[in-house]
C-alpha cells in the first residue's frame, strides 16, 4: 500500500518533467505553426500579417509565459485548443484513443496467444527440429519491419482477392462488432507478429531456465505429469520476464503505432501525434505526449503489481 502511494506521488513529478521536455523539444525544431500552415507562401506575409498570425497561434508570448499558461490549464484538465481540429485537445485525444486502445489489446492477444505457447513448446523440445523451426520463425518475425508485413497483407488481399479492411475511419465495436473486428484484425496481426517473435524468444529462454531448476526435478520425481510440471509448476515462474516485456510493449502501443496506422489508414493516436508534429500543433503535441506518458506510467505500475501475484516471494517497496 505504501509502495502504491509512493508510486502515485511520483506521477505528478514525472509528468512535470515530461511537460517541460515536450514543451521545449517541439519549439526547438525549426519552423512554427505559421510556416507549417503556409509553407513557402509564408514569405509573402507583411510584418503586420505575421504579427496577427503569431497572436492567433499564441506565438507572440515568451516561452515562459506560454508554458505557464499551458501548465495552469493542464492543472484544471484543460490541455488547450488544437489549432488543426479547432477543438479542445482532450476531446481530440479521447476521440482517437479507443481505436489505439483496442488495437493495442488485440495485438497483445495475438502476441501472447501465439508467442507464449510457441515459446513453451520450443523450450520443451530443446535443440530438436521443431525448436529450430520456432526459433527461425521468431527471428524472421522480429527482423521483418511491420510496414513490410502490412503492405504485403494489403497487396495480397487487394490484388489477389479484391478485398480490404475498411480504411480511413474507425468503426466502433459498439456500433458494428463485425465491422470493427474486420477492420482491426489485420492491423493487429501486423503489429502483433513482430511482438509475437519477442514473446516467443523470451518465454522460450525463461522456460529453459526454469525447467532446469531443482523444484521442477522434484515435481517430476514425485510423479507429476509432464503437462502439470510445465503448465502448473514451471510456467508461472517463467512468466515474469514475459510480463515485463509485455508491459513495456503495451505502454508503447498505447502511444499509437504510427506505421501500422499510416498503412491501414487508421485514425489512431500515433498518426494524430505525427500530423500534429508536422503541422506544429503545439497544444496537441504537448497534450498527447502527456497523455501517453500517463498511460505508460499506469501500465508500468500494473506490471509491478502483477509481479506480486505471479511470485508471492516478491514484495514491492524493497521489504521482504
Amino acid at each position: 500500500m505504501t509502495y502504491l502511494l509512493r508510486r502515485l506521488i511520483t506521477f505528478p513529478l514525472v509528468m512535470l518533467g515530461v511537460s517541460v521536455l515536450v514543451f521545449v523539444a517541439i519549439r526547438l525544431v525549426p519552423g512554427d505553426s505559421i510556416t507549417a500552415m503556409l509553407g513557402t507562401e509564408a514569405g509573402l506575409l507583411t510584418p503586420q500579417q505575421k504579427q496577427a498570425l503569431a497572436a492567433y497561434f499564441g506565438l507572440d508570448q515568451s516561452w515562459l509565459v506560454q508554458y505557464g499558461r499551458w501548465l495552469l490549464g493542464v492543472l484544471s484538465a484543460d490541455l488547450g485548443l488544437s489549432v488543426t481540429y479547432g477543438k479542445p485537445v482532450l476531446d481530440v485525444i479521447l476521440q482517437r484513443f479507443p481505436l489505439t486502445l483496442e488495437l493495442a489489446c488485440l495485438s497483445m492477444v495475438v502476441a501472447i496467444g501465439i508467442g507464449l505457447p510457441l515459446g513453451v513448446f520450443a523450450a520443451t523440445r530443446r535443440e530438436r527440429g521443431s525448436d529450430l523451426a520456432v526459433r527461425i520463425f521468431a527471428m524472421i518475425g522480429q527482423s521483418t519491419p511491420s510496414f513490410v508485413i502490412g503492405l504485403m497483407i494489403i497487396y495480397v488481399l487487394s490484388a489477389g482477392f479484391g478485398i480490404l479492411p475498411a480504411m480511413g475511419q474507425f468503426i466502433p465495436f459498439s456500433e458494428d462488432p463485425l465491422g470493427n473486428i474486420g477492420q482491426l484484425i489485420l492491423p493487429a496481426l501486423t503489429l502483433g507478429l513482430s511482438f509475437t517473435a519477442s514473446v516467443t524468444r523470451i518465454s522460450r529462454s525463461a522456460m529453459l531456465d526454469v525447467l532446469s531448476d531443482d523444484y521442477v526435478r522434484t515435481a517430476r520425481s514425485k510423479g507429476a505429469t509432464r503437462r502439470r510440471v510445465i503448465w502448473r509448476h514451471a510456467l508461472p515462474n517463467a512468466l515474469i520476464p514475459v510480463v515485463t516485456l509485455s508491459g513495456v510493449e503495451f505502454g508503447y502501443l498505447l502511444g499509437g503505432a504510427v506505421l501500422v496506422e499510416q498503412i491501414f489508414a487508421l485514425p489512431g493516436l500515433g498518426r494524430m501525434v505525427l500530423d500534429a508534429i508536422l503541422q506544429r500543433d503545439y497544444a496537441l503535441v504537448q497534450g498527447s505526449v502527456l497523455f501517453v506518458a500517463l498511460n505508460f506510467m499506469i501500465v508500468n505500475l500494473l506490471v509491478d503489481l502483477a509481479y506480486v501475484m505471479l511470485d508471492p516471494r516478491i514484495r514491492l517497496g524493497g521489504r521482504s
Binding site: 478485398i163 480504411m167 463485425l178 474486420g182
Partner: protein, 505 residues
C-alpha cells in the same frame, strides 16, 4: 464436428464476413467515394494555401470568377465583368440566383466584406499581395461591385479566380465564424470534417451553377498512396487524388481503373543563390544550366512523367524549351564558361532538399549532383524535414535548393514575388535585374492579350538566359477513377471543381 471446432469456424467466418462486408458494402448509390493522402489543414479560404486545403475549399466556396480547363477566366459568382481601358477599374455583375449555404443571397455587400477582410492585415491572408492594388470598393447596387485600383493591374482578374478570394457571407465575417463553420456558395456543403481522417460533402441543391451530378462526396484520408491504390483495386474508392508518380503509373495496369494525367503549373527547379559566390557570376550560373541534362533528371527522378519547361509553365505562355538558353546539354560550353569565370577547377557548394516534398526531391538532387560533378562542381546534399526546409528557404540561407514551386495562371502573379524589385520573395531569389523588372511592369498594365504574350515571351527567354534558377520540368496532376465515374475534367491548376459535373453510372 466438435462443438469447439464449430465455434472456431464460425468465428473465422465472422471475421472474413467482416472483411468482405467492410470492403464491398456500398455507400448511398450516388455518393462519390474519394480518397487522398493529404488532408486539408483548415477551413478559412482566405488563409489556406496548402494544395489539399484549396482542393477541398473550392468545392465549398466560390470566388467571383473561375479558371476553366484551359485556364481561361469564366463566370462563377459574377456573370460578367469589364476592365476600364486604363485597367484601373474592374466592374463585376453578380449572378442574382447565387445563394450561400445558409440560404442568404450573395450580394455586393458580401463581396465588399470579403475583400475588406482579405486586405485587412490582421486577417493574415497570404493572398493579400495579389489584391494589394485594390484601393476602394464601390457597391452601386446589390448586384454590382466596382473595384477601384491604385495602379493598372490586369493580372488582378485572373488572381480573383482563386478560392483565396472566395466570397463569404458578410454576416459570418462579422460574427467571426470564418474557419470554424464553412458557409460558402459552392456546389457542395461541408457536412462534417474530421481532420486527417475524413470529410463528408453534400450536394448543394440550390447551387446557382446548375445541378450537381452526385448526391455527395465522402472523402477518406489514406496517408499511404499504396493503400489508395489497394482501395481502388478493392473498389472501396471511386475516385482518388494521387501525388506519387511511382504509384500513379501503376493505375493503368489495373483493369477497370483510369488514370487522368494533366500537366500542372508548378515546376521543379534548381534554385541558385546569385548572392553567394561563385553563383554571383553569370558565366557560372550559365555553366550550370548548360551542364544539366534536364531530360535525364526527368527520366531518372520522375520516371519521365513530366515535360521539360522554361520559367513560364501556363499553356498559353509556355515556350518551346528548345528555343531557350542551353536547354540541350552542352558540356564543352559549360566547361568553357566555368574557365572564363575563373573556376576551371570547379568549386564546392551545398544543395538543400526537403524529404518527401516532392517525393522526387532527393533523387533530383542526386542526379544533379552527378551531372555537375562533370564540370568540377562538388555538391553536398542536405536533406531536411519540410518545415526546416521552408524555414531555411525563406531566409534564403542556401547555395542551391531543389524545389517544387507553385505556379499561377498569370505570369505576373506567378513571378512578381521573385523577379520584381519590390517582390516579397526577393530575399529568396536574391537577384535583381532591370530587364526582368521592366518586362513585369509592362505585363502588369498591358490589356491586349497578344502584346502581353510578346512581353512575357521576352521575359521567359531572358530569365532562362541569366539563369538565377535552372528550370527543369513540370510534372502531372494525377487522378484515378473507376469506370462508373463520368464527366471529370482535370485542369492544370489541379482543381477538383470538375467533381461538380461528375456523375456515377
Amino acid at each position: 464436428m466438435k462443438p469447439g471446432m464449430t465455434r472456431r469456424l464460425l468465428a473465422c467466418a465472422a471475421v472474413v464476413a467482416g472483411l468482405v462486408g467492410a470492403s464491398v458494402a456500398p455507400a448511398a448509390a450516388a455518393t462519390l467515394k474519394m480518397a487522398w493522402a493529404q488532408d486539408a489543414t483548415g477551413l478559412d479560404p482566405h488563409k489556406q494555401t496548402a494544395f489539399s486545403s484549396i482542393r477541398l475549399l473550392e468545392l465549398v466556396y466560390e470566388p467571383l470568377v473561375r479558371l476553366n480547363g484551359d485556364l481561361k477566366v469564366v463566370p462563377a459568382l459574377a456573370t460578367e465583368w469589364t476592365f476600364a481601358p486604363d485597367a484601373r477599374t474592374l466592374t463585376f455583375k453578380l449572378d442574382p440566383k447565387a445563394k450561400f449555404h445558409n440560404g442568404q443571397p450573395v450580394t455586393a455587400a458580401d463581396v465588399k466584406a470579403s475583400f475588406t477582410r482579405i486586405l485587412d492585415q490582421a486577417t493574415g491572408a497570404v493572398a493579400r499581395a495579389n489584391y494589394a492594388s485594390i484601393a476602394s470598393i464601390d457597391t452601386p447596387d446589390d448586384h454590382t461591385v466596382v473595384f477601384n485600383l491604385s495602379q493598372p493591374d490586369v493580372p488582378l482578374l485572373t488572381a480573383m479566380g482563386s478560392v483565396n478570394a472566395a466570397i463569404l457571407p458578410a454576416s459570418e465575417i462579422a460574427a467571426g465564424k470564418i474557419g470554424t463553420a464553412a458557409v460558402g456558395s459552392g456546389p457542395f456543403k461541408l457536412e462534417s470534417w474530421e481532420p486527417n481522417a475524413r470529410e463528408v460533402l453534400k450536394a448543394n441543391a440550390d447551387w446557382a451553377g446548375g445541378k450537381v451530378g452526385v448526391d455527395g462526396i465522402d472523402i477518406k484520408v489514406l496517408p499511404d498512396e499504396n493503400a489508395i491504390l489497394a482501395a481502388l483495386r478493392a473498389k472501396q474508392v471511386d475516385f482518388a487524388l494521387l501525388n506519387d508518380p511511382l504509384v500513379a503509373t501503376l493505375v493503368p495496369k489495373v483493369a477497370g481503373l483510369t488514370l487522368n494525367r494533366k500537366p500542372v503549373l508548378s515546376y521543379h527547379v534548381l534554385q541558385l543563390n546569385p548572392s553567394r559566390k561563385p553563383m554571383t557570376e553569370l558565366a557560372v550560373r550559365q555553366a550550370i544550366s548548360c551542364a544539366i541534362d534536364r531530360k535525364d533528371v526527368l527520366d531518372t527522378a520522375l520516371l519521365g512523367e513530366g515535360e521539360i519547361t522554361g520559367p513560364l509553365t501556363m499553356p498559353q505562355y509556355r515556350s518551346d524549351p528548345k528555343t531557350l538558353f542551353c536547354y540541350s546539354r552542352d558540356l564543352a560550353k559549360a566547361r568553357k564558361l566555368m574557365a572564363d569565370a575563373g573556376y576551371a577547377n570547379g568549386f564546392s557548394a551545398t544543395v538543400i532538399a526537403a524529404t518527401g516534398e516532392p517525393p522526387t526531391a532527393a533523387a533530383e538532387a542526386q542526379v544533379i549532383q552527378s551531372q555537375l560533378k562533370e564540370i568540377g562542381i562538388k555538391l553536398d546534399i542536405k536533406l531536411m524535414e519540410l518545415n526546416v526546409y521552408v524555414d531555411t528557404w525563406l531566409k534564403g540561407d542556401f547555395d542551391m535548393a531543389v524545389a517544387l514551386n507553385g505556379g499561377r495562371a498569370d505570369p505576373y502573379s506567378m513571378y512578381n514575388r521573385y523577379w520584381t524589385k519590390a517582390g516579397n520573395l526577393q530575399k529568396v531569389a536574391n537577384y535583381i535585374d532591370d530587364t526582368l523588372d521592366d518586362l513585369m511592369q509592362k505585363g502588369r498594365v498591358e490589356t491586349d492579350p497578344a502584346k502581353r504574350k510578346d512581353i512575357f515571351s521576352a521575359f521567359d527567354k531572358h530569365l532562362a538566359e541569366v539563369s538565377p534558377w535552372i528550370w527543369l520540368y513540370t510534372g502531372y496532376a494525377y487522378t484515378a477513377q473507376q469506370q462508373n465515374v463520368q464527366g471529370f475534367v482535370p485542369t492544370p491548376d489541379g482543381s477538383l471543381f470538375g467533381l461538380s459535373a461528375v456523375s456515377l453510372k
